[in-house]
Symmetry: C2
Subunit: 326 residues, 2 copies
DNA sequence: ATGAAAGCGCTAACAC
DNA sequence: GTGTTAGCGCTTTCAT
């Protein structure tokens, strides 16, 4: 197995064709005009010899690595695989590879990951910061060294970002609930250190004021687990037994609520919605919000290509209505 | 933002200390004996100047990239984030970065991904092959160029692999079911192109023969979705209405079965088990099999470090018994 | 124990 | 349009 079958270098192609390495390079990178006949000769030879340009040599010279760094807060959070897949795909389209780093929800690990990526001279960094405040310094530092784009979560509006609208979908859900005659809405948020979750909660508060001005603000907090969602649901129902709809900041919480309120997805007393449209939502017929990860990834990579140093892009999210809010 | 704040090179450290670049290099890589006093001087200077060795230059010289390629069949399959996390962690411990490629369940994409990784001269490739047969050639080809280790899924026993025992946990489940007086067991498998799924099914067949020789073989197939699990459950119950336990090849299928048999997790007529211990299982109190991803990743990276060209490592899986098999 | 010099594979200035 | 030359940043002979 393995053990270097002596790679073909550009020099061998040059020798084989009787041309200079520069010419070969030009043909293969398309950097400058080359006579079609020579070009053909080079391509044939390269093909025949099985030449594949060494990215290391190239990078050393060009200062590009054709590699993107992607820092996510937590691979196990089922939203981020969606993002990873979208970024990978968009990057591949553009001939870029992706170095993925998982911060494990830990700002220190995140800082270390950023440093590694910068050291490795990735062409750009896409990051969904772990923490609303604690991620800040590392982010700023990285941005000094390499084009850095916030993706999904945004903690520094001065730096370029691509995110999904978080308020819009909450509004769509609230309107839908209103249309189906619910008005005693509650909200279960996540930790207040997560930018998207905060935005979801703010939207809820604003919308309650606008749509149901007399109603109390039924808001509690839960962690990233179904059990914690169950507990939150109990809290809500004991504080506000009249509640007839619960909007959750993510699907996992919503699943907990679903369990607490009596398993089976079906037309129900209390409407429930989640966030992120994970396989949980699909499996359990839970209304949820799907962020446009593909378009987000695309937009982010366009920013990279354009070397944008400023950008504020917000894309629309989509609510997938299912049985749980019927 | 960004735009190269002129990186500090090894030459500047050399100049600053009045030493040669070789000596600086030796201190920083620990390649050879250096007088402690000089070493200290170098380290101080490097620290002060903010020197960070450029991995590109280093790689060009050493032919190492300190980077690992990881090819997974599908990021959206909730098992693989577990594997990604474990590999990332184990790699970081050893100072390696990880290039992740998602094959999207497509052998062609997988072949392309492998080629990219080889081109980039990753030090080793870890791969969980998409397809039992269609992944073969690309795997063989990659293994010629770079140490390649099969992780989790195994399609070529001649090449090094690290996997989890698939038969053991099925046996543990069958025994547990037998102990709780079930004997009319059924199995729902996945596509027969996935190595692990095939192994799970074979184990089931063997165990039925051993434990319940008179019973018919109740086996059907489902895709990677809850809906398809529901359909499979219907098939089973119409063909063999006496069925009192269903073992599923993954959690998503099990969730479908759970729904079909009447939502709520609880002590039930028909016991249900899944595979992979994903958040679905945890959220829905589903008995499931947890593969030892951390130990698998560790073992794989040990093989990489040892430059093993042959290895067959199988680790024990663990069944997490929950409400669904009570 | 340290230094000088070569060179990994590639592309970009600069000639012509 | 093509060739010559230099050099990206590093490690590693080969000297001393």
């Amino acid at each position: 197995m393995s053990d270097a079958p002596a790679r073909v270098t550009i020099r061998e192609v040059a020798r084989d064709t009787g041309l200079s390495t520069s010419t070969v390079s030009r043909v293969l990178t398309g950097a400058r005009a080359v006579s079609p006949e020579v070009a053909e000769r080079v391509r044939e030879s390269a093909e025949r010899l099985g030449y594949r340009a060494d990215p290391i040599g190239r990078s050393l010279r060009t200062r590009r690595t054709d590699t993107l760094g992607l820092v996510i807060p937590d691979v196990m959070n089922p939203f981020f695989p969606q993002l990873v897949q979208a970024v990978e795909y968009a990057a591949r389209q553009r001939g870029l590879a992706v170095l993925i780093a998982d911060a494990s929800n830990d700002p220190e690990a995140e800082r270390a990951a950023l440093r590694t990526l910068v050291d490795r001279r990735v062409d750009a960094v896409l990051i969904s910061p772990t923490h609303l405040t604690a991620s800040r310094d590392a982010l700023t530092e990285a941005a000094k060294a390499v084009p850095t784009i916030q993706l999904d979560r945004v903690i520094d509006p001065e730096l370029p970002f691509v995110r999904a609208d978080q308020g819009g979908p909450v509004e769509a859900i609230v309107r839908h609930l209103e249309a189906t005659k619910r008005r005693r809405l509650a909200f279960i948020g996540q930790r207040i250190t997560i930018s998207t979750s905060v935005e979801r909660e703010r939207a809820f508060q604003r919308l309650m004021g606008e749509h149901f001005p007399g109603e109390p603000l039924r808001v509690v907090t839960a962690g990233m687990s179904a059990d914690s969602g169950r507990a939150a649901a109990r809290d809500i129902l004991s504080s506000w037994p009249e509640t007839d709809a619960i909007i959750c900041a993510n699907d996992l919480i919503a699943v907990g609520v679903l369990q607490e309120l009596g398993g089976r997805a079906a037309r129900r007393e209390v409407a429930i919605s989640g966030f992120d449209d994970t396989l949980l939502a699909r499996a359990l017929h839970l209304t949820s919000v799907r962020q446009p990860v593909e378009r987000m990834a695309d937009a982010a990579l366009d920013l990279v290509a354009a070397r944008a140093t400023q950008a504020a892009i917000e894309l629309d999210s989509e609510v997938i209505f299912r049985l749980s809010t019927t």
